[in-house]
């Protein structure tokens, strides 16, 4: 398998593959808050933002919509194998922002089937995926979520580079007259705009932040060690006030972003218990804030030279992180829509 840490058959890895899959379906049965802590630790320990994103794409973005909107058959079919790591699911990061981008996959009704045509790029985990969560638009623009297995005739996956987070493994998905039955529809037909899409957006905004909290903590740890080891002007960097103040600000950003993440994640758990919906505003502010925190922390750590090149990779990947999830263009508009009660 291409993502060994996610799919290795150990207990710990099983939890990473399926933390949000319920226990009775073979998953870890963790809460959203616990899953975030797991992903934070994975980001800190793996020191790899791309691998963290791969874990989120499979264990959250591909898993939770199925848990939330899947039929009993769909849940029984997919979730146990996703939780064990036997199957991985993939989602395009261009399909996690509702209709803010024009749809690139079309769905046509043909008797009792659906015919899908189109191409979607930036599919996280595509080269290794067993199946894909794909949003497709009707001729009249209504959108439906589909679960498309890799062996569906007419489906092609082309591995691509993304320029960042290479360890996530990226691909372009092309569907050419793919014929799907109603059992491939996730949720209500033509209702993705009010079902799967808002959920996917909030999941992306919240959970992709979690590995980054860990990466920021790893960078902070590296920076503290560096400041204690290296000298400038004949004295340890740790004696330099400007170094000390920068490190303090890095620590502050870590704590603030973690606080935002924990609030947003906990709302998924409250919702699980009470049926109340997590706040889209809180999800979007979490991503908006964390993206800025990640940019500032990686910039402050850009001088570090660790053997594994974390600072360079994180600097590159932070720019990518800040541009996905809709980037500031979408996130600011979404937060403003909530605060101003407009939009």
């Amino acid at each position: 398998m291409a993502i060994p840490i996610i799919t290795a058959p150990t207990d710990a890895a099983t939890r990473l593959a399926g933390p949000l899959v319920p226990l009775d379906l073979g998953g870890g049965g963790l809460s959203a808050a616990e899953t975030c802590e797991l992903l934070e630790a994975f980001g800190e320990g793996s020191r790899d933002p791309g691998l963290g994103l791969a874990a989120v794409a499979h264990a959250v973005l591909a898993t939770v919509p199925m848990r939330a909107f899947g039929t009993p058959d769909q849940r029984r079919h997919y979730l146990p194998r996703m939780a064990s790591g036997e199957w991985t699911g993939a989602v395009s990061l261009l399909q996690t922002q509702g209709a803010s981008l024009a749809p690139t996959v079309n769905a046509q009704r043909a008797e009792k089937n659906w015919i899908l045509d189109g191409t979607v790029d930036l599919v996280a985990g595509a080269p290794a995926a067993h199946h894909f969560l794909v949003i497709a638009a009707d001729p009249d623009g209504e959108r439906t979520a589909f679960l498309v297995d890799r062996d569906t005739p007419g489906l092609q996956v082309e591995p691509t580079g993304s320029g960042a987070m290479p360890s996530c493994l990226w691909g372009r998905l092309t569907v050419d007259s793919c014929r799907l039955g109603d059992d491939a529809v996730l949720g209500t037909p033509r209702a993705a705009a009010r079902e799967v899409e808002p959920l996917l957006a909030a999941l992306d905004w919240v959970f992709t932040c979690a590995p980054w909290i860990g990466v920021m903590r790893a960078l902070l740890g590296d920076a503290v060690a560096d400041a204690r080891d290296r000298h400038r002007f004949g004295r340890p960097l740790a004696h330099s006030q400007s170094v000390r103040l920068d490190l303090a600000d890095m620590a502050v950003q870590c704590e603030l972003a973690a606080g935002m993440l924990h609030r947003a994640a906990a709302e998924f758990d409250v919702g699980t218990r009470s049926g109340a919906r997590p706040s889209y505003e809180h999800a979007a502010t979490t991503r908006l804030f964390t993206a800025a925190a990640v940019r500032s922390v990686t910039a402050a750590a850009a001088h570090l030279h660790s053997a594994d090149g974390l600072a360079e990779r994180a600097h590159r990947d932070a720019a990518f992180f800040a541009a996905t999830g809709g980037g500031g263009e979408v996130l600011r508009a979404v937060v403003a829509a909530s605060v101003l009660e407009l939009g």
């Binding site: 902070l220 503290v224 400041a227 204690r228 002007f233 004949g234 004295r235 740790a238 004696h239 006030q241 000390r244 103040l245 490190l247 303090a248 600000d249 620590a251 502050v252 704590e255 603030l256 972003a257 606080g259 935002m260 924990h262 609030r263 709302e267 409250v270 919702g271 109340a276 919906r277 997590p278 706040s279 889209y280 505003e281 809180h282 502010t285 979490t286 908006l288 804030f289 800025a292 500031g328 996130l331 600011r332 508009a333 979404v334 937060v335 403003a336 909530s338 605060v339 101003l340 407009l342």
Partner: protein, 406 residues
């Protein structure tokens, strides 16, 4: 959608008088009455200490609500009923209970005297000293308490407080190997006390100024030796109260911005439809939330009695500087009205800056955070390390030294 309500007006009368409080530089008596009636000061203290024992979230919410209504009143009341009362509850004993109750109920007002005229955060420069009123061998009767001499400056409530909790050096008798420092609870209504007000940029309704002690009397029970390190944990109540002031000020500035953006029409549409305005509002929303979440966490830790010095330091750094940014955006969204004297955001803009400075300025706290990251204590050395590297000298020109002196 799950929404945690941002505190709104809790004291409409105090909010309605906030502009006047700023203009006149005086907190109306009615404000004090309304706070006492609401039991504001009791929230911060346990039942045993005469409080109402609110949980930490409720405390932060009540603090922010008052800070939103009137930052000046908030500062004055909270310095007395939270910070000073906590110090008395922590370091005092049963003889101080009437004093504690008086502060909690708002019947008396306290000031916290730390900073002196020579320096703000550097305790090494402080001169104020407590010494026995009649040292052994002197003419007067022994054992009649202590006197305090020195000047504390830029102190909230100094012009009108009834009592000051003062950080002072201890003049120790031979054989006394206790701490070098003490807290002295000083009655300010006595001949040895002179006080003065200092005009200030923001929080103009908050009384602020200096206290000059000239052999002012302090009862023996009111001088409590305290190690300086330990005292800084007590001061974190002050950092917390200032952080919450900043959050309340920022939230008020954002609320004013949202209201203005919704009603002000420019280029044929309300400002709220301008993406530039939306971006400012979205950023403010995210930053205020981040600060408030950290405030709740820090307050929970502190209220539970766990060490929270580093966390509260982080909070104060971020929250106070954040509020300066948010109020600056608010002024920009309001345009010319925002820089007009008497307008709410003009006042909030001035108020926000005070929080960055008060109760340890940001960079002092960054040093503390850095130390807790494992970097060791701050190192202050004479600045002499650049010249020896050869970097601080003018280089030769493109043709080298050959033309020099010709």
């Amino acid at each position: 959608m799950l929404r945690i309500d941002h505190p709104r007006t809790a004291h409409p009368g105090i909010a309605a008088r906030a502009a006047d409080t700023d203009t006149t530089g005086h907190i109306p008596a009615q404000n004090w009455k309304e706070l006492a009636d609401a039991g504001y000061g009791a929230l911060f203290h346990s039942d045993e200490d005469g409080g109402s024992g609110a949980d930490s979230d409720a405390q932060v919410a009540a603090m922010e609500a008052l800070a939103r209504d009137c930052p000046s009143t908030y500062w004055s009341a909270t310095v007395s009923s939270l910070l000073c009362a906590k110090l008395i509850a922590t370091y005092g004993d049963s003889t101080h209970r009437p004093l504690l109750h008086a502060l909690i109920s708002g019947r008396r007002l306290a000031a916290f005297g730390v900073v002196e005229t020579a320096a703000g955060s550097d305790a090494g420069t402080y001169q104020t000293t407590v010494r026995p009123a009649s040292p052994p061998g002197s003419a007067g009767p022994a054992g009649t308490g202590f006197t305090i001499t020195g000047e504390k400056s830029r102190i909230t409530n100094a012009p009108n407080a009834d009592l000051a909790v003062v950080l002072a050096r201890r003049e120790r008798a031979a054989g006394d190997d206790g701490p070098d420092w003490c807290l002295a609870f000083v009655d300010l209504h006595q001949p040895g006390v002179h006080r003065y007000a200092i005009p200030h940029m923001g929080l103009r309704g908050m009384p602020w100024g200096g206290l000059v002690f000239t052999d002012a009397l302090v009862a023996e029970a009111d001088v409590i030796p305290v190690p300086l390190d330990e005292l800084s944990e007590g001061m974190t109540w002050g950092w917390l109260l200032v952080s919450v002031a900043a959050i309340g000020i920022a939230e008020s500035a954002l609320a004013a911005s949202v209201a203005h953006a919704g009603s002000r029409v420019s280029f044929g549409r309300p400002l709220a439809h301008m993406e530039g305005v939306q971006a400012q509002i979205a950023l403010s929303r995210a930053e205020i939330d981040a600060a408030r979440l950290l405030a709740r966490r820090a307050a929970a830790e502190r209220t539970a009695g766990r060490p929270a010095r580093s966390l509260i330091a982080m909070l104060k750094i971020y929250a106070t500087e954040m509020a300066v940014g948010v109020t600056e955006r608010a002024v920009q969204i309001h345009g010319a009205t925002g820089v007009t004297a008497g307008h709410e955001v003009e006042r909030l803009y001035r108020d926000a800056q005070m929080n960055v400075i008060g109760a340890f300025a940001s960079n002092r706290l960054r040093e503390l955070v850095a130390e807790n990251l494992g970097l060791g204590p701050a190192v202050y050395a004479p600045f002499d390390w650049v010249r020896s590297t050869g970097l601080a000298q003018d280089p030769v020109g493109l043709n080298g030294p050959s033309l020099e002196g010709t």
